[in-house]
Amino acid sequence: MTEKITNSEWALLSSSLDGELTSTEKEQVETLLGTRPELQRAYQSLEGTRATLRKAALHKAPRNFTLTPQMVPQPRRGFRLVPVLRFSSAAVALIAAVLFFNPFRLLPQAIPMAAVPSENAAQVALSQQDALNANPSATPPPVIYWGGPPPQTKVNGMGGASVGALCPDGPCQYSGIGGGAADSPIPGDTLRSFAEEAPAAPEITPTATPEAATPTATPAAEATLTGGGPILGIQSDGATSMDSAAPEAFTQSLPMVSADNSLAADQSEKIPVRTWVAAGLLVLALAGLLTSFILTRGFRS
């Protein structure tokens, strides 16, 4: 009975012709050839095919294929610039894209939206200050006091001292509205001891908060607000007489607003600068890419 010869058996027979078998495979082939006549015939046919192929002519080269320097020109030095230019162009374009689509722009974008009221407030304060300085005798806006007539004493501030209390450095000008004790002198040592025992308050510095920082048209001007009434920036009737005499005494400077205004102004200046820088880098990247393209074309030609 003749069995079909498998691919592995063909491979064994073929390798056996070239002596490319291990000792185990040799034994296996000898066993197969001794037991299966069809394998022996296949082996002989492969041997004849191989012998026929070995008789094929070995074509000689019709000419020499030696190389000349013109065939293999040495790479020119400038050619090395091409990958450098391409890489730098890609890097510059990436930087430009990052600058242009900066994720940190979220912060400057949030600032102008929140900064509009603050800017308006600063402008209102400045306009009020200008109006007060220009015409001190102008009629002040009416102030409504809730819960009774306006106090007849001095303008009361927000401090803790009571009316007529003595401060360490002399008579207190501002009596507290809330928390003020009876009009009794407070020894300076007592206040000083309270100040020393109190924990040091953290230093508050002007920061760019969404509510405060804003770009403004007058960044350098230090806005001041005046008024001693219960409503900041609006003078009460009682304070008007005093303010007319010495308005500077009730002037409250607003360094917070001033700092925020300057910060906002910086932000408003940085955004266009960054955009310009991004555009410049983009132009630089395009120029580098164009140069590398021209160099490549030149070397190929």
Binding site: R41, T52, F65
Partner: protein, 204 residues
């Protein structure tokens, strides 16, 4: 020929050293290209391009059989050429005039003008039959059969040339030989008596 030294000099850029290696292997390279492409002109171009590529990339040679490395360059160049031919097949050159059909069927203008000795007739017939059968093999079988059965390379070198394991070489060679055996059987009557395969071929 001090091949390792020539290789080292060629790596350093010495073109003369490389050309000595070219002279050593150009016959084998051209023969492989001719068997692969079945066209002398294309084989010439492929051989020249393979040596140019070999010189440009000789710094990638990491030792071992330089002959196998060069043959690998030739094989890859032939594969590129075959792919290019598949993409843009060429039309064989024929006489412009179609008046003489007989001339087209047995083109005398293609015949070799050199008188062939009687002793070379058998070899020429055998050569045509072998080339025809080799050309009908798939490309991956063709290169293995040419390298082993015509060039006489061993399996490990062929494995280095085609970049495949030894088992793949054995398998491809066996399948190539089976196909060649079948193909050459069809040429049995054309082959000289001394080259005819045995009767056992007909029984397979």
């Amino acid at each position: 020929m001090d091949e390792p030294r020539l290789i080292q000099d060629a790596i350093k850029g010495d073109l003369d050293s490389f050309n000595r290696l070219v002279l050593e292997y150009q016959d084998m390279a051209f023969n492989l290209a001719f068997r692969m492409l079945d066209d002398p002109a294309s084989a010439e171009d492929a051989t020249q391009n393979a040596f140019i590529s070999a010189y440009r990339n000789i710094h990638t040679f990491r030792g071992g059989s330089f002959r196998a490395w060069v043959m690998r360059m030739v094989t890859n160049t032939c594969y590129d050429e075959l792919r290019r031919k598949h993409r843009r097949p060429t039309v064989p050159l024929e006489p412009a005039s179609g008046e003489d059909e007989e001339e087209i069927e047995s083109p005398s203008w293609l015949a070799d003008d050199d008188p062939s000795p009687e002793s070379q007739i058998e070899t020429q017939e055998l050569e045509k039959a072998i080339q025809h059968c080799i050309h009908n093999l798939p490309e991956e079988f063709r290169v293995v059969a040419v390298l082993v059965d015509i060039q006489g390379m061993d399996y490990s070198e062929v494995a280095a040339v085609i970049g495949k394991p030894l088992g793949t070489v054995k398998s491809r060679l066996a399948r190539a030989r089976i196909r060649l055996r079948t193909c050459l059987t069809a040429f049995r009557e054309l082959l000289p008596v001394s080259f005819r395969l045995g009767e056992e071929m007909e029984n397979q």
